[in-house]
Amino acid sequence: MSTYSEIENSIKGIQRPEADPYLYSKIFNRIQTGAEEYLEPKFVWITACSFLILIALNGLIFQKSRIVTQTKQQEVKQLSNAMQLINENTINYN
């Protein structure tokens, strides 16, 4: 029966295995084919941030336009009341 140190010594002076002779070609091929798919993280972040800003701007503009429409409707109502444009003879279609 072997002791632990005997077993541990079995890998002492272990030789590094020979690499595949075509390793470099394989790596270079993977780099070239992967280059089209690979996007730099910086580019990904910039694109993501641009989209977020665009969405936020859209939301902001939409909200502002809603406030403007509401204010205009109120103004029209006030004006029509003031000018007595609505009376009992006005047909309400709503």
């Binding site: 029966m1 632990y4 079995s10 890998i11 030789q15 590094r16 790596i27």
Partner: protein, 192 residues
């Protein structure tokens, strides 16, 4: 060409410099991956992946450590990621088999690993040792492989694993204790 010039050329996308880097480190990376993965095909695949990562991320290398340390770090990280992915697949296959009631055995046993660099008279003992190494926790396994297979000092291992030298010493002590324990269990089983 010194390391600084080499890094500048690599960052500029110089192909001969990259070719030189591959030929300088291919065996070191392959040996590290092979020790961790214990499968030649997987180790070759991960070795390719390591160099592709080196090529794509060289501009992120700040030169705070040696180039070799950085490459060893990528090799260890990629190998451990590969093992985790493989284990996830195994777990998924196990559950799939449970629910689909398929017949056939799961290949959970890593089998007999024969490192090509071990001397003939040591093959059997080395295979036993590698089987025990495979059961170690990730960090202990990485430290043990880098020290025993790649002959890296504790200081170098500490830089690769981004831990203190004291932590590496502790990892090595625990790794040896765990190996002694699992090899002891192995003998008990064989005696019966």
């Amino acid at each position: 060409m010194n390391e600084q010039e080499w890094i500048i050329r690599l960052k500029a996308g110089d192909e001969p410099a990259f070719k030189q880097l591959v030929s300088e480190f291919e065996r070191k990376v392959l040996n590290t991956c092979l020790g961790l993965l214990q499968n030649k095909e997987d180790a070759e695949d991960v070795t390719q992946d390591v160099f592709v990562t080196v090529y794509q991320s060289i501009h992120q290398f700040k030169g705070e450590s040696k180039l070799s340390t950085w490459i060893y770090r990528i090799a260890v990280t990629k190998s451990l990621e590969y093992i985790r992915a493989k284990n996830r697949k195994k777990r998924f296959a196990f559950f799939q088999k449970l629910f689909t009631n398929e017949q056939g055995e799961l290949q959970n046993d890593p089998g007999h690993f024969d490192h090509p660099g071990v001397q003939l008279e040591n093959k059997e003992r080395a295979a036993t040792l590698f089987k025990a190494i495979d059961q170690l926790p990730e960090r202990q396994k990485s430290a043990f492989i880098l020290h025993k297979l790649e002959d890296l000092s504790y200081v170098e291992i500490a830089e690769v694993l981004k831990v203190s030298v004291a932590s590496v010493e502790s990892l090595m002590v625990r790794a040896k204790q765990n190996l002694q324990k699992s090899l002891g269990d192995y003998y008990k089983k064989n005696e019966k």
